[in-house]
């Protein structure tokens, strides 16, 4: 498995580095503004009052903008991380499908490497890539925190990174399953992205309209809220477990399907 995993890392490094750089610049840059926002919190809140509370809630802005939880959750985690996680998870998870389309998959699978080991190496690559991105994002916030000294609690930041990671892993698990079912990167990636967009809209609609509140339960975005964790230190265990069940379920089903499915020419 080691050569296949090494190749996965090599193939993924440019993607992780480029997206990671964007994450670092964005997360670090936004964090730099935190003291300014703190100083002018009252003015910002007055400005925000012109928008309906439901609309603000739909985009994760609940409570005072000066609270670290509201600030980091709405301006960094809810805005940046879903994009980062979706792009990287879908691109990496659908790679076996792309390899099947080009014929590259034939090379490792014509050797002593069993199919399960090949896909396990690919999954390990996804986990590592998303973990590195989560670490880079949290690291950027923490590094800027050292400069501006608002003293975000490091342990809560790290736990936020863990929960953010499970969100990305859930996307990766389901995308891997779609990739193995279709063995067509375009279809699998398109469907995964489409599901995420529909989920995002469901979450927004559920916040805007009380009649549709139940629909929000169907959205993965509903369970991605780090405000309470950052403000109170309460880890969303249930939400993380839900994400991990989708991640593991997707991967296990993908491994099972990959073992038994045809790899057409």
């Amino acid at each position: 498995m080691i050569p296949a995993f090494r190749l996965e890392l090599r193939r993924g490094r440019m993607l992780v580095l480029s997206v990671g750089l964007v994450s670092v610049l964005y997360a670090g840059g936004i964090t730099l503004f935190y003291p300014t926002i703190l100083e002018n919190a009252a003015d910002f809140e007055k400005l925000m009052e012109i928008y309906p509370k439901e609309l603000m809630a739909a985009f994760g802005i609940v409570g005072s903008i000066g609270d670290p939880g509201t600030f980091l959750n709405s301006y960094i985690f809810q805005f940046l991380w879903p994009l980062v996680a979706a792009i990287v998870a879908i691109l990496l998870a659908t790679r076996p499908a792309a390899d099947a389309e080009t014929g590259f998959l034939d090379l490792p699978l014509s050797t002593r490497m069993p199919r399960l080991r090949y896909l396990t190496a690919a999954i390990a690559g996804q986990i590592l890539a998303l973990a590195v991105l989560a670490a880079m994002t949290i690291g950027a916030i923490w590094a800027v925190d050292l400069l501006i000294e608002p003293n975000f609690p490091l342990d809560r930041l790290v736990l936020s990174g863990v929960h953010a990671l499970t969100f990305g892993l859930a996307i990766a698990g389901v995308s891997t399953l779609l990739a193995i079912i279709f063995l067509d990167r375009g279809r699998a990636g398109g469907l995964a992205a489409g599901i995420l967009i529909v989920m995002y809209l469901l979450n927004v609609l559920a916040q805007l309209s009380p009649d549709m509140a139940d629909l929000g339960r169907l959205s993965a975005f509903r369970y991605f809220n780090l405000k309470e964790l950052i403000d109170t230190g309460t880890y969303p265990v249930g939400d993380s477990l839900l994400y991990m069940s989708f991640a593991l379920g997707g991967w296990l089903l993908a491994l099972w399907a990959f073992r038994w499915r045809d790899l057409a020419a």
């Binding site: 014929g103 590259f104 034939d106 014509s110 050797t111 002593r112 045809d262 790899l263």
Partner: protein, 305 residues
């Protein structure tokens, strides 16, 4: 007797689309087995079934004693494979690609160097910058770099220039001399005749014949075109294995089945201005498996001495 490859009633259907149907054959140890067929005949489907990439609709195949589908990875320990159009990662150099394959096959880094030198492959070039022929060379190097007992090759010489095809045939001879076995899929009849001991012929998904190369040579047709200095005697071409397709005063087109020597002996008494002997395209050879004669007037590939 234990066979290196044993396929019994091997069948693959893709929904309503034909794959292969009831293919049965065996390959013995130290044999070079040619698998001939026109494009779309089912060669690649058969190979993918043998490698466990596809699940048979019916029938079974065993490779080195392992069930090709259920126990593919165990079989692959002793198999080297090259596909007809190997897909490599464009950003890797040929050397990196070959080292990757070597590591997956348990070979040492650089195990490919000797074969690469013989095929004049520059290993420092990124695969995406290689021509089709050079990419094919990477595939051939990959197939020959190890010492696995079985080589499975799917049209490995497509895109190779004639010099490299000759080197390929030399490599095949060495592999045979080392006691190893080769399954060689091709639509190049002369190549199969030179390289193989036995030949299986597949057409429209069915194995229509398995014979030795000498049997195949005895049965297949060649096209002979003559330009004569003078009109020939009326009975000069009357031989059991010769058909006159067309004859004018000086231009004669013949079809010869099997041995050409009797015809050449007759031609010794004729003043010949020019002669060409051509092997038929493989599709025309396959027509012979249906009506017993080649497609007259079909385009032939000329092989001039």
């Amino acid at each position: 007797m234990t066979y290196v490859i044993e396929a019994t009633g091997l069948t693959k259907r893709y929904g309503s689309r034909r794959g292969i149907d009831d293919v049965t054959f065996q390959i013995r140890e130290n044999e070079v087995f040619g698998f001939l067929g026109p494009n779309g005949a089912g060669k690649t489907t058969t190979i993918r079934l043998l490698l466990g990439f596809l699940r048979p609709t019916a029938g079974r195949a065993f490779v080195l004693g392992h069930d090709a589908w259920r126990d593919a990875a165990a079989a692959h320990v002793d198999v080297a494979y090259v596909s007809s159009e190997p897909a490599y990662l464009g950003q890797l150099t040929a050397a990196e690609q070959l080292d990757y394959m070597a590591s997956l096959r348990g070979l040492s880094t650089g195990a490919w160097r000797l074969v690469a030198e013989r095929l004049e492959l520059d290993p420092t070039v990124q695969v995406k910058k290689l021509s089709r022929g050079n990419r094919q060379k990477v595939g051939v190097v990959q197939a020959f770099m190890g010492e696995e007992p079985l080589l499975v090759m799917d049209e490995p010489t497509s895109g190779l220039d004639p010099l490299m095809q000759r080197e390929f045939l030399a490599l095949v001879s060495e592999v045979r001399a080392a006691g190893r076995t080769i399954f060689l899929s091709s639509h190049n009849l002369p190549e199969v005749e030179r390289a193989c001991d036995r030949v299986g012929i597949i057409r429209e998904g069915r194995l229509v014949d398995v014979s030795t190369v000498s049997e195949l040579q005895a049965s297949h047709w060649r096209s002979v075109n003559l330009v004569l200095d003078a009109p020939p005697a009326p009975d000069v071409f009357e031989l059991p294995n010769v058909r006159v397709v067309s004859a004018s005063a000086r231009d004669v087109h013949l079809m010869v089945q099997g041995d050409v020597n009797p015809l050449l002996r007759r031609l010794a008494s004729v003043d010949i201005h020019d002669i060409s002997i051509a092997t038929l395209e493989i599709e025309d050879v396959f027509l012979g498996y249906y009506d017993g004669s080649p497609a007259v007037g079909a385009d032939a590939r000329e092989v001039r001495p």
